[in-house]
Amino acid sequence: MTVALRTQGLSKHFGAFKANDKISLAFPVGARHALIGPNGAGKTTFINLLTGVYAPTSGDVFLGEERVTALPQHVRVKRGMTRTFQINTLFPGLTVLESVMLAICERKGTAARWHRTVAQQQDEIDEAFGILRSLHLERDADSETRSLAYGRQRLVEIALALATKPRILLLDEPAAGIPAAESAELFGVIANLPREVTILFIEHDMSIVFRFAERITVLVGGRFLVEGTPAEIAADPRVKEVYLGEAKHD
């Protein structure tokens, strides 16, 4: 089992507040891993640490064998780790097609090109349409992102991540704000990603978690609580205690 992504003693303190405290996790290549925990448990902070949005107070992040703790965000993306945001973080004034194409061009290195027009980048256009079609976004291709309904924008959020052809995909509550039927479809797309892609996703909807995750890690109060298979987690008394009041799932 090769480790795709690993953290070691990763901590993030804001003054006296410990958002993440000495978290050491390892995710093998091809993992389908869910990160759950009550609100404020530090899940998004963890993703921010993994991607480089935050610099850790202590600890390290490893992509494979490489220590990436000091690398800036965009370099980590180039190394193959992409994330989506919990709240849509898109390009409001660009059309959906332009947004996806921008991501593709960044990946392929053609975004630095200034002497050919975007309309001439036929390969990138074809690839963009492939992604849009997989998410049923083709008919919105020419609409400005800000004119789309929130749910459709959420799909664009995923499309941008897919456009970077990640080896490691970090999804921060991807289904937040989407009605249940569409979220199943969205996760269908994610489930169809190549097996070698390592996926870590934060979710609150337990039915989704138990359907798509092969392993689950529980964070509480910035600290690691327990990790295991869905069955183990569902049976774990500590987890039930943490989710006191939540409906049980299987």
Binding site: H74, T117, L160
Partner: protein, 357 residues
């Protein structure tokens, strides 16, 4: 196309972008050869009829208004200067209050060269561009750090520093300005005469050539990434974009072009006044750009033209009135007509177009 109509209704005041020049969308394909790309509102640099019509105007002006060619050159030069600001402000979203610094550097470079014997025009332009670009490159490292206020202050500070330098250094002529700028003939053939004809055409050609290049640039993936930086600063690093590198590149380029504009001014007026570096020049430039519509390249030209023509017509007025009405206009534009003239026209066109379909 029901989807388009739904989108349009949903968008209300948000303009349907770029049905006018530069944003390139073709509504009716002229046959199967038109690539699918153009049918999808992607930035391209196909020449649109309106653009061609636009460029006929300055050529026509040359023949129709021979007495106003000096003003005409000023408009063209300021237009180029405004275009350089549009690159960083309209496309990359950098708020700069000191862009006149690069304009002034270009002006003084070309002016000093000519005043000290080197009067060849094109090399003077190149020198002005290089000096301004180097300064822009150096300054860009300061610009990319810190937030908006810091950036504003740094750009302002650089402008002011250069102003003080030019004021105090012995060889710049200080408050009186740099005179004795003598130009030789362009290509050894065209002399700068008092009628301003050579100067006008010279400025027009330089503007056009640079404009065509920039036109291509803003429709390129690089241009798209600039708009990405402006629009979604948080998302850019998350898709792997080296934002800092891009900003440095565009800032350097913009400074260089401002330098060319400044050099043009020095060469065509054969004088360099201290005001080329002053804050009022930076402020007025921003007003022109917003007036015309930022982020559209042509908006910069339109804004410059409208502003300077109005200023010329109203120059007989008490300058107090001019300042008052410009201030008021600026406030009104920011509150109600944020996309400027070109934005407003674009919206009208879109509405008319939509009603027809």
């Amino acid at each position: 196309m029901d989807a388009r109509r739904d989108d349009h209704e949903r968008r209300r005041a948000v303009p349907r972008r770029e049905l006018l020049p530069l944003g390139g969308k073709a509504r009716s394909a002229k046959g199967a050869q038109v690539s699918a790309a153009l049918a999808h509102r992607l930035p391209s640099d196909r020449w649109r009829a309106l653009e061609i019509a636009f460029w006929i105007l300055p050529i026509a002006a040359y023949f129709l208004f021979p007495k106003y060619l000096v003003l005409g050159s000023q408009i063209l030069i300021t237009g180029l200067f405004a275009v350089s600001l549009d690159l960083i402000l309209g496309y990359a979203g950098i708020v700069s209050l000191g862009h006149a610094a690069f304009f002034g550097l270009g002006a003084y470079t070309a002016g000093l060269l000519a005043a000290h014997g080197w009067g060849e025009p094109l090399s003077g332009l190149a020198a002005g561009a290089v000096v301004a670009a180097i300064a822009g490159f150096a300054a860009s490292f300061l610009i990319v750090r810190g937030r908006d206020l810091t950036r504003l202050m740094v750009t302002l500070g650089i402008g002011l520093m250069l102003f003080e330098l030019a004021n105090k250094l012995p060889f710049t002529g200080g408050v009186d300005g740099l005179s004795g700028v003598t130009m030789s003939k362009i290509f050894g053939v065209f002399a700068f005469g008092l009628d301003g004809r050579t100067a006008y055409l010279y400025s027009l050609v330089v503007l056009f050539v640079l404009f065509v290049v920039l036109r291509r640039l803003v429709s390129s993936p690089f241009g798209l990434s600039l708009r990405g930086i402006r629009d979604g600063g948080k998302r850019m690093p998350a898709i792997g974009a080296p934002v800092t590198r891009r900003l440095i590149a565009v800032f350097t380029l913009s400074a260089g072009i401002a330098g060319v504009a400044g050099a043009l001014l020095a060469q065509t007026t054969q004088f360099v006044g201290l005001d080329v570096l002053g804050f009022p020049r930076s402020a007025e430039l921003m007003i022109m750009l917003i007036l015309g519509g930022a982020g559209r390249l042509y908006g910069a030209l339109i804004g410059a033209a409208v502003f300077m023509i109005a200023q010329d017509i109203l120059s007989g007025l008490n300058p107090v009135y001019w300042q008052f009405w410009i201030g008021l206009l600026l406030i009104v534009v920011v509150l109600y007509a944020r996309d400027g003239i070109l934005g407003g026209l674009s919206r009208l066109y879109a509405r008319w177009h939509w009603r027809r379909s």
